[in-house]
């Protein structure tokens, strides 16, 4: 569809940022989801949680300010903001499992019609580990998957049924890709919004899951 990877990602994270609400405590997954922090809407204050033990994650440091003791869950150097708090991994996952995180935004290899999510391993090929993803998706109040619509080889990632080992069972609420905004409902996968310049037919062609289209589907405006 002509967009470069970086352009796709920007489109996805900009739309994902529109889901932030003032006062939310939010956990952003490693990689693309981390970029959502760059597009927090004006007038909205969110507090970012990093599962390695920090609430109130600030931007990357300026050169010379980096501190080996201050990283995010992606092992990137970060900074404090006024109000930052540190805690242990046990406390961190206590607040996650306890349902205190309003929103978890994370990436995926596959999502299916039931909201099942796979993002931690490819048997015999990739063994990276689930990190905190299984805890987050099991207990965050809302789970948004922010991912590219297809694999690098152009294969659909929105499937009737996940084929890879699952990260969570019926956990995904919303999927945002460079093609559209989707909700997982009791009736299955519903296309609610199209990305600019994308048609319903294009989405269908790139989606293996049975796709329902909302009656008032529209193109998102950012």
């Amino acid at each position: 569809m002509g967009l470069k990877d970086a352009e796709k990602r920007e489109l996805i994270v900009r739309r994902a940022a529109q889901e932030l609400r003032d006062g939310y405590y939010v956990n952003l997954g490693i990689g693309m989801p981390t970029l959502v922090a760059n597009y927090v809407p004006a007038g909205v204050q969110v507090i970012l949680q990093s599962e390695n033990g920090m609430l109130g994650v600030g931007p990357f440091p300026l050169a010379g300010e980096e501190d080996a003791d201050l990283i995010n869950a992606g092992k990137e150097t970060v900074t404090e903001v006024p109000g930052t708090a540190y805690f242990s991994s046990a406390d961190s996952f206590g607040m996650i499992r306890g349902g205190h995180i309003d929103l978890s935004i994370l990436g995926a290899m596959e999502v299916d019609e039931e909201g099942n999510l796979a993002n931690w391993m490819v048997p015999g090929k990739v063994v990276k580990g689930m990190g905190g993803a299984m805890d987050l998706v099991a207990a965050a109040r809302r789970v948004i998957v922010a991912m590219e619509h297809t694999t690098k080889r152009g294969e659909p990632k929105l499937l009737p049924r996940c084929t890879l080992p699952l990260t969570g069972l019926k956990v995904v609420d919303t999927v945002i890709t460079e093609m559209g905004f989707f909700r997982i409902t009791p009736q299955g996968l519903v296309l609610e919004e199209l990305a600019p310049g994308i048609s319903i037919e294009q989405v269908r062609q790139a989606t293996a899951a049975n796709l329902k289209v909302s009656e008032d589907v529209k193109t998102w405006q950012i």
Binding site: S50, F60, L62, D69, A90, G129, L166, L169
Partner: protein
């Protein structure tokens, strides 16, 4: 009471082959770099390690792996360590990956005398295989058991001769729980002070959990991903 040992080598001198070790840190942040280096010098083999990560290729626990010291590993993420990924796929090291929160809580439970607990993490996944599940208030949970170890190697920022510890920023991570869950906990610190110098309200790990404390010989404080913003 004096728990201070003179060197990292002395601190790990009695760790025998086949021991189970908890090793603190998240990525390379808050790892007991001097104790791990001493262990690598001693080439203790057949170890069973419990740690969130496995260092990186060529540094930290990655060196233990390269030296063939590790038989099995329990952790949550090994994405930075290509060698471990290869060894795991080839079956040379038994790697058990579990959710990070489950890992943290199993260690906490081990130190707190709680043999098992129920968690929602991993229900319906490979993690749930052969584990008991139970429904509470309409939701399914997985039973997970405590983890304990022969030794815990941990890192704190400041500590006193009685083993009271204070951690700094996100270098706290798994260190406080691990301190509680081993038969012998060995803490390395950047600053070793006299009892009374740490504010009692600020102590994060009370000394009861710490058997030995050593001032780390040298801190490289390596950064795994130096990410910067421009002005």
């Amino acid at each position: 009471m004096n728990k201070v040992v003179a060197s990292s080598m002395e601190a790990v001198a009695d760790i025998a082959p086949g021991s189970t070790l908890m090793i603190g840190g998240f990525g390379l942040c808050g790892i007991p770099e001097n104790l791990v280096a001493a262990l690598v010098t001693r080439r203790v083999t057949g170890l069973h390690t419990i740690a969130n990560n496995m260092g990186v290729d060529g540094y930290g626990m990655g060196l233990m792996l390269e030296a063939g010291m590790v038989d099995s590993h329990i952790g949550s993420y090994v994405g930075e360590n290509k060698l471990l990924e290869q060894m795991a796929i080839a079956g040379k090291v038994t790697v058990t990956l579990i959710p990070q929160g489950t890992l943290a809580e199993r260690i906490r439970a081990g130190g707190a005398g709680i043999p098992a607990f129920y968690t929602p993490a991993g229900v319906g996944t490979l993690v749930a295989e052969a584990k008991e599940t139970r429904e509470f208030e309409g939701k399914t949970y997985l039973m997970e058991r405590w983890l304990k170890a022969d030794f815990a190697l941990i890192k704190a920022w400041r500590g006193d001769r009685q083993g009271n510890l204070v951690y700094r920023k996100t270098a706290r991570n798994f260190n406080p729980m691990m301190a509680t869950a081993a038969r012998i906990t060995i803490a390395e610190v950047e600053e070793l002070v006299e009892p009374g110098e740490l504010a009692p309200d600020a102590i994060m790990t009370p000394g009861i959990y710490v058997k030995r404390i050593v001032k780390g010989e040298k801190y490289e404080r390596r950064i795994e991903r130096r990410t910067l913003r421009s002005v």
